[in-house]
């Protein structure tokens, strides 16, 4: 290798750290015998692939309301989640791009006593934005904020199995659970469980002083939130950006236009209908990640006619999932099989047979249930998920071919979760998905769960659920989860239509690594993980 070639390689590695300017690099490239265009191309490619320090990114979020606040009891949508949980705060653990759990504010964690006791060791010397050092006491008060009778936290039910939390010295926190849970660290990665400073024994969320990569500078609820880099952030080199601004753009068309005209550098939840036009723009890239989120149509198995398993089976065969994936989600969804566990999740096993649209089978099960014809009401609103009303229109047409008359009722979007979900015999619902099979099953399928949306109480399923949770032998666990997935598929009351993809779009000037599948916006942590690539 010539001397200039050698220099060029060193320079390439320096670009990543932002130490070589474009102009200097092109000079080196010319010396090494490259053309200006070629060395420029190398510079751009390397620069994009390597994290760069500095810059200001404007991120368009699909949500945002004037009632938003930095209170972690809430965080109802992607605006608050990405800006206040992801960018401003940290939990004990986080999920990485491969979907694996890893320590975040904790340095390590381990379990004992058949996964009933969990010990989290904190990183040393981490400080809040106000300069105070993070102690085990802060962790305990932050967690207690979501527990107890008078909490207003939406995450209360996640900690229901926790019987005790205590600090063991300044850097160790011990959780004691009622029953073993091998996946407890995953629960700690939930976006509500951010660590806040403890003031007089109470979690102080209102000051906004957290541990995250960014410090809140200006927040106008329902409009925007501006954050600047935390110079004392505990992860080396991160964050890359100097400043981020989250902008609430709830109207789809407005969001698409804002990205097209360069008003923002990123938008969450891109419009699938006009994605084709966006792709034509050379400055824009589409990001698509298959997540854990799924759309369901829960049937209340305690009410007629859904108390009959054959009727449930007939319904499952009367729906054209592929058509829904193609038309409602324009192909940006993966057909599901009445199993809420996403393919990317550990212990996933696809039940057999694959449920698809088959009028013969639907009629067969209907006959088995002693019926020729069936008339059912389906309550939907786009509040359940965008496209629910259209999906119901498609189901109405396919079910009609099986002798099932589906009467679609469009419910009010307001208060949908309050008045329709868990109340009407058959409705539409959405789950953003959980990182583990146990978590998902415990919340939406366990007999005693208040969100058991189909009111399904299968004894075998519930027995397996408790056993599998505390089982540490991976092979046995896999077998148990496999059986449970088959049970929800065969007997369960939830029709799982499709798994959604997170489709977002960004300007090419934003760079990023692999994207986490657990939540939207790179696991809500895009502000911490992304950078502005030069050029």
């Amino acid at each position: 290798m010539s001397e200039s070639g050698y220099k060029l390689r060193i320079a390439q590695s320096l670009i990543g750290r932002g130490k070589v300017s474009r102009r200097d690099f092109i000079h080196l490239g010319l010396a090494a015998g490259l053309t200006v265009a070629a060395s420029d191309q190398i510079f751009v490619t390397v620069a994009r692939a390597q994290p760069q320090q500095g810059g200001f990114a404007k991120l368009g979020m699909a949500h945002g309301a004037t009632t938003d606040s930095i209170d972690p009891a809430g965080y109802p949508d992607t605006f608050t989640q990405t800006a206040f949980s992801g960018a401003m705060s940290n939990g004990l653990t986080e999920v990485n791009a491969k979907g694996e759990i890893q320590p975040d504010l904790a340095e390590s964690f381990e379990s004992s006593n058949a996964a009933k006791t969990w010990v989290f060791k904190l990183r040393k010397g981490v400080t809040f934005h106000n300069g105070k050092t993070v102690t085990a006491e802060d962790v305990v008060t932050s967690m207690r904020y979501h527990m107890g009778g008078d909490t207003k936290s939406a995450a209360k039910s996640l900690l229901e199995s926790v019987s005790d939390i205590k600090a063991d010295g300044p850097e160790t926190v011990v959780f004691t659970l009622n029953s073993g849970n091998a996946d407890f660290p995953y629960i700690m990665s939930d976006y509500h469980f951010v660590i806040m400073p403890s003031v007089d024994g109470k979690a102080d969320w209102a000051s906004g002083s957290r541990t995250g990569a960014f410090v809140l500078e200006n927040f106008q609820p329902g409009v925007s939130a501006k954050l600047k880099r935390n110079p004392n952030f505990f992860k080396n080199g991160r964050p890359y950006l100097d400043e981020v601004e989250f902008i609430a753009i709830t109207d789809l068309a407005a969001r698409m236009a804002a990205l097209s005209t360069g008003e923002v550098d990123y938008i969450g939840r891109a419009d699938l209908k006009t994605l084709g036009m966006l792709k034509r723009n050379p400055k824009i890239e589409i990001i698509e990640v298959t997540g854990y989120g799924h759309y369901t149509l829960p049937m209340n198995v305690t009410m007629a006619p859904f108390d009959n398993p054959d009727v449930r089976m007939a319904m499952k065969w009367a729906i054209n999932r592929q058509e829904i994936a193609d038309k409602i989600f324009l192909g940006h969804a993966t057909v599901a099989n009445d199993n809420p566990i996403a393919p990317a999740i550990k212990f996933y096993k696809n039940p057999v047979p694959q449920h698809r649209f088959d009028p013969e089978k639907a009629r067969h099960y209907l006959k088995k249930a002693g019926m020729e014809k069936l008339k059912v009401d389906l309550s939907v609103a786009d509040a359940a998920f965008a496209g629910a009303v259209d999906a119901a229109a498609l189901i109405r047409e396919t079910a009609a071919q099986c002798g099932i008359e589906v009467n679609v009722i469009r419910e009010a979007e307001d208060a949908y979760w309050d008045n329709i979900w868990l109340k009407k015999p058959w409705c539409a619902s959405y789950w953003s998905g959980r990182a583990t099979a146990d978590w998902m099953f415990t919340q939406a399928f366990a007999a005693e769960s208040s969100w058991n949306e189909s009111f399904w109480k299968n004894p075998r399923f519930n027995e397996l659920l408790v056993q599998a949770r505390a089982e540490t032998d991976e092979a046995k666990r896999a077998a148990m989860y496999g059986e449970m997935q088959q049970l929800t598929h065969d007997d369960g009351g939830s029709i799982v239509l499709v798994f959604n993809n997170f489709v977002s779009a960004k300007s090419k000037k934003l760079g990023h690594g692999d994207i986490a599948p657990n939540w939207e916006n790179d696991g809500l942590k895009m502000a911490e993980r992304w950078w502005i690539a030069q050029a």
């Binding site: 309301a65 207003k152 939406a154 409009v223 753009i249 008045n419």
Partner: protein
């Protein structure tokens, strides 16, 4: 004598206005109370449990009976306190006043900016159309303005946004490639003459004045297209009506030019209906622009109120409704005063 009776009318109307505001507050309060769900259930959404809902209801006082809540609100209101948003928590108070103030400023900013464009434009077009009635100009103006009010507002807004996007993308579309080259080039050129207005009118309290104007350009143009037709047609009709009066014939006979006749003689007497329509449209600019706010992400009061209704944030809904009602009442009052001032006969309506 005349001034006195004008003052009396104004006072009377203001009194009636206060009563109206009071009734509006009762109606809005009951309507929000009748909406399914409440703030606690709406914010907790899918993840609500009975205990968390009860705890939240207790904190914001929703566990008290509605009548009691209403009167405590009225009590505070009379002392000039708009109360706190339900989004407040212990140690983190968010007063309604501080939530509404910047939004109201934005709303008024957009309304004034639009009015400064739309009203002179409408009057000018209306006068010229009346002067050259049934000419091609009259017809074109009529048809174009009619067409713009025939489209839903959001549609006009999207079309304008599309125009801005097309500046960059038009040349690459299949449509452009299917056109003859000279046409494609000239369309592209025309598109590039259009300033690159921002499609996102997100502004905050730090936005400098001229930047605010620049960002509010597209919403303002959309609203102008929506309201010009109505005002322009009224101006035209009122002037035409006046032009058929005998005193105008007189003025014409005296040899005055048509423009002079319109501006000096017809217009002063045609003010009453024009002012009424202008006031109506200004009221619309303040009260009715929620859709344009949503499409351009402009943080105004309309969007705030829709948001607050969705989340059942009663104090904010109430305050927004009162602001809107007050704006409506005041603008109508001003319009009446101007009408009376220009045509004293209206003081004693039959």
């Amino acid at each position: 004598m005349r001034l006195n009776s004008v003052a009396k009318t104004v006072l009377q109307r203001l009194g009636l206005g206060l009563i109206t505001l009071f009734i509006v507050s009762i109606i809005i309060f009951s309507a929000v109370a009748m909406l399914p769900g409440d703030f606690a259930k709406a914010t907790l959404g899918q993840s609500a449990t009975p205990e968390t809902v009860a705890a939240l209801q207790h904190e914001i006082g929703l566990d008290r009976p509605p009548v009691e809540r209403y009167f405590s609100w009225v009590g505070k209101m009379l002392k000039g306190d708009f109360g706190s948003s339900f989004a407040s928590r212990t140690g983190y108070r968010r007063t309604v006043a501080e939530i509404i103030a910047p939004r109201l400023y934005n709303t008024i900013f957009l309304a004034v900016m639009t009015a400064l464009i739309a009203v002179p434009l409408a009057l000018g077009l209306g006068i010229v159309a009346a002067l050259y009635r049934n000419s091609w100009f009259d017809r074109v103006v009529n048809t174009v303005t009619l067409t713009t009010i025939s489209f839903p507002e959001f549609f006009i807004a999207y079309m304008l946004a599309f125009l801005i996007i097309s500046r960059d993308t038009f040349a690459g579309t299949e449509f452009a490639q299917s056109l003859p080259a000279w046409l494609a080039i000239s369309i592209n050129w025309t598109l590039n003459v259009v300033p690159k207005f921002p499609t996102l009118a997100n502004i905050n309290d730090e936005t400098p004045f001229w930047d605010h104007v620049w960002r509010a350009a597209l919403p303002s143009i959309t609203l102008t297209l929506v309201i010009v037709a109505h005002m322009m047609r009224m101006t035209r009709a009122a002037i035409l009506n006046m032009l058929s009066s005998p005193y105008i014939d007189m003025a014409r006979l005296k040899g005055m030019g048509p423009m002079v006749v319109v501006v000096r003689h017809a217009l002063p007497n045609a003010w009453a209906p024009i002012v009424t329509v202008v006031a109506f449209n200004l009221a619309y600019l303040i009260v009715g622009v929620v859709i344009v706010e949503v499409v351009f992400v402009y943080p105004g009061v309309g969007q705030l109120m829709v948001d607050a209704v969705r989340s059942r944030d009663v104090p904010v809904v109430q305050a927004c409704a009162l602001v809107f009602a007050a704006a409506y009442i005041l603008l109508n009052l001003i319009a009446d005063i101007i009408s009376i001032a220009t045509n004293p006969r209206l003081l004693h309506p039959r």
